[in-house]
Each structure stands twice: as C-alpha cells, then as structure tokens.
C-alpha cells in the first residue's frame, strides 16, 4: 500500500469528480491542486479559471491567492471579475462550470457559511465573507465543497447562509428563484458525501481507507444515510506522482 497524506487523498477525490470539458472554478489551496491534478488525470480538456478573470493559467508556481501574479502568467485570457462571474451566471457556460469551494460550516442541504459564527451582528468568530463563493454556489452547474470533518463544522443549521446549497430541500432553489444546479459533493479528511437526488439531503458516498462510517457520523452534528457508502479508492501511484511532481512540487499547499 502506498504511503499518502489525507490531504492528498482529499485533493484526488475531488480531482476524480472533474469531467472532461468542465470549466473549473477554483480558489487557491487544495481546490486549485484538485483542478490541476484533474487536467493530468481525467479531464485533459477541462479549463481552470479564477474569479479574478484569469482563464487557463499555466500555474508554473502555486499561487497563494486568486489575485496572485502567478495566475496572470501565460493564460488564454486575462479578464476581470465582471467577466468571470458572467461566465458562471451565463445560461450557456454556467451549467458547464464546476465550482470547488470551502466553508466554516455546512448543513445537511449543503448550505455554506463563510461569514460569521454566532450572531451576525455580534459575531463570536468573523470570517472573510463570501468573496465569490455565494456567486458560484448561486450560478453554476455543480459544486464540490472541501470541509474538515468536525462536529462544529457539520451543523444542523448554519449560523449564516453565505452560499446557497439546496436551501431547505428539494424545491428550495426553485422557490428562491435560483438556477438549476447545486451542491454535488462534499469531501473531507474522512469521507466523500453526495446529495440525494430526491430529498437533496447529504448522504455518505465513500469512506476513506481505515475510517468507518460510524467514525464519520461521530464527527458530524447531524445524521446522514451511510447505507450507500463504499470505500474510497486510495491514490494510485500515478495520481500521487502527478500531484507531488506536477501540481505542488514545493509542497506549499500539501505541506
């Protein structure tokens, strides 16, 4: 068995979900590594783009922010925020976009909080705020969310809905007036989760090697169906090689 870090498996689990031809919206950190890895592993014709307007950046070095000069070098188009978000809101390109995001809290319908813990007006902990996350979650065909698997992060009700998931269930997005699309999967340091096609509730799709479904449930603030879960395939030699040698050779993100 190969020696790998959980962070590597998380990244690859996301990369495997990217389809050829997807337009991949990502931030920095492991979401960007996942997008980069996917281009080498399973989606050679996918295009990475950033909310700052950079499309198809070469990424010779890992950027530390989506506005990093490293995203501006050797791109197809250097646009701006207005362009980038229009691509996602567009009825033509938007459905082909997969957004990879993160958050401080998530609920069973995949609603995300990246704004504040506690009362919005007197926050216990204040975070950065939406950035483009709310826009991406509102517009695009599907989203993948990275989370740390902790009880305080998987909560019955997020303190603030920054980015819409399925809202309050099957008709939530439709009632709110949002486009089709929504959360597809959640990837943590323990598991992968999807959302039921009918109920739109989160369920366990995969558990990482060495982790049991019960351990996963023990680290969540709400129950999910675990009956459909299978073990997530560990990284292949090829996948690890791509990730380590092509995507983050300096280990700025993988550590």
């Amino acid at each position: 068995m190969l020696d790998y870090m959980l962070k590597e498996l998380m990244t690859l689990a996301a990369a495997r979900k990217i389809k050829d031809g997807d337009i991949v919206f990502c931030g920095t950190g492991i979401s960007m590594l996942a997008a980069m890895a996917a281009k080498h592993i399973c989606a050679p014709n996918s295009v990475i783009f950033f909310e700052t307007g950079a499309i198809d950046s070469l990424l010779e070095e890992v950027p530390l922010a989506v506005a990093d000069s490293r995203v501006m070098f050797w791109t197809s188009v250097n646009g701006n925020l207005a362009d980038a978000f229009a691509t996602m809101q567009s009825r033509i390109t938007g459905p082909h976009v997969v957004g990879i995001m993160g958050a401080a809290q998530i609920d069973k319908f995949g609603n995300l909080n990246s704004t504040a813990i506690g009362d919005y007006f007197k926050p216990k902990v204040r975070f950065s705020g939406s950035g483009g996350a709310c826009d991406v979650a509102s517009f695009v065909g599907r989203t993948i969310t990275f989370m740390q698997h902790e009880k305080r992060k998987f909560v019955p009700k997020v303190d603030y809905i920054t980015s819409p998931g399925w809202l309050d269930g099957p008709d939530g997005r439709k009632k709110a007036g949002l486009p089709d699309g929504g959360p597809e999967s959640v990837i943590t340091n323990m598991a992968t989760m999807g959302f039921d096609d009918i109920t739109r509730e989160m369920y366990l799709t995969g558990f990482f090697p060495g982790i049991t479904p019960q351990q996963i449930l023990d680290n969540m603030g709400f129950d999910i169906d675990v009956s459909r879960a299978t073990e997530v395939a560990p990284p292949t030699n090829f996948e690890l090689k791509i990730l380590r040698e092509k995507c983050d050779p300096q280990r700025l993100i993988l550590g």
Binding site: S69, F73, Q89, S138, G172
Partner: protein
Amino acid sequence: MNISQDKTISLPEAVTKFVFSGCHLSIGGFTASRNPMAAVYEIIRQKISNIHLYAHSNGQGVDELIGAGCVSRLEIAYAGTGRFAPTCVRFKKAAQSGAIAIEDYSNYQMTLRFMAGAMGVPFLPTRSSLGTDIIEKWGFSRQMRSEDPRLPDQKLRVMDNPFGSWGDAPKLVLVPAINCDVTIIHVQKADLEGTVRMEGLSFSDVEQAKCARHLIVTCEELVSSDFLKAGPDQNQIPSFCVDAVVHIPYGAYPTACYRYYDYDPAYLNAYRKNAEDDALYNAYLEEFVYGVPDHQGLLNKIGNGRLNAIKADPRTGYAVGLDRR
C-alpha cells in the same frame, strides 16, 4: 473632473485634496495584489477617520485602514489576504468587537454595484444570493439608511422578472449602485493626463475608477502619452475620468504589482503576527507607518535586499522561486 494636461501631484497633496474624514472611499486591488498601499499608508499618516469604505476582495489595504482606526463603515465581499491571512486579522477583531459597522455582499454583487455607478444606473440585476442571508441580514439598519442620504434606502431588492419567463430567471436581486467620493487605484503605467494601462488582471479597478466622483491614480511608471497611444487596445481608463496622477514606484508594496514586483511574504507574515496583538500592532504602526515620512521611507526601512528578492522576473511577471513560506 480635471481637464489639465498634467495632473501629476504628490501623494500627500492628492490625499489631502480628495480624501476627507467621513468620505466614501473605494480602493482597488484584490487580496495581496495591486492594493494602493502607498496611498493607504498616507491616509493613515494623515489620520483621516470615519471613512465609509467600499471594496470587493481587497485584503491588505482594507485591513490596514481598519487597523489604524480610519474606518467606521465597511461594505465588502471578502476580507482576506490569500494564504497570508485567510481572514484579515484587524478586520476580524473590529467585526467581533463591533468597532465598525460591516455590510456583506458577494464579489459579483460588489462588482455590479461599482459597475452600476460607472454606468450611471441606480442598480443592476443578478441571480446571486437568492435564498441566502446576504439578502436577509442588513449590516446597516433601515433606520440608519433612511437617515443617511448617502446610503440607498435598501441593501438590495428581490424582484420578480418583469419579462415573465424570459431568460428562465423568475427572480432577480437588484443591487444598488455605488457612487463614492473618491477611488484610489494603483496601476502599472499612466501618462501625465491620466490615461491608464493596467497589466495582467484588472480585477474591478475599471468599474471602481469610473463610479467615483474623484479618481486618484498611483502608478509605477509615468510614461509618455505617445507610448500609451501606440497600444491603445491595452489601455483601460481615459484621462477624463482621472483627477490626480501620482508617480510612486512600489506603490502597491507590500502587495504585488504584476510585472514589477511580487508581494513580500516576510512583510505580510510579520504583519499578520503583529495584527494578532494590540500592543504589537501599535508598535507596528509606530515603526512602519507613522515612523516613516512617506512611502520611500518605508522602502528604505525594508532595504534593497528584500526589494530585490521580490523583483519580478521579466518572463513571468513575478519573483520566480521566492521564498513564500
């Protein structure tokens, strides 16, 4: 509006002339790139307070203005400086202590708000944020809004599509225009009259520039009009939008300016550490902001060694191999 053919002015003069206590200010850039830091530090040195600040994902500039006590109200989408501060530290403290009033939008909404101001319409529509607390929770109360003619009466409005099923969008969120008193952006190149060329991504700087009553442009290089006119497809802002041009090399330092220099990881990491502690932060302000007469003073303190380390490689536009831990 300034119609003269030479709009160059010193940074202290530009700040004194256009930035005032209580003014509505927007600053360009994004997280750790092209923040108009020289101007930010000058605003702090001039002790301008009670600023109503607008930004989308501006990181370092917003945090330093808040940290120095210049800001009373903030409309923003994202306050982070990339990996250097996933949430800006002084912003976080101010939010948690209630020291400043904050209203949250998304990045696209802030961009559309600047764009509406630039276009001369009171709002623009989007489908972003339907069903979320960005719509439900107003950082500025209805009462505060109704008492202040410089704020729209509503944070945003949800409306049914007036064209029925056209466009398959049953509901829209209307976001109100921003028309601020002054915008400050830092760019790579400008001429004496103020025509601007940004290189790499322009973020929402163009929209921010055009929505403001007054525009201060700080630039790395002052170039001839002929130089810019030889490549007009690459210029973004015409001179008639510009009130003041300030030539200030390293004007975005410690944030990055594509093709000129990278961000300074040492500065940004030390900043974050200092920002965590009030006493350390005051010492930081005393030494690096109040303790220097101007931006050149800061650069002198940083020294040529570090400035050389972040110098952009001509091929890529950033400092290849820079130690960024």
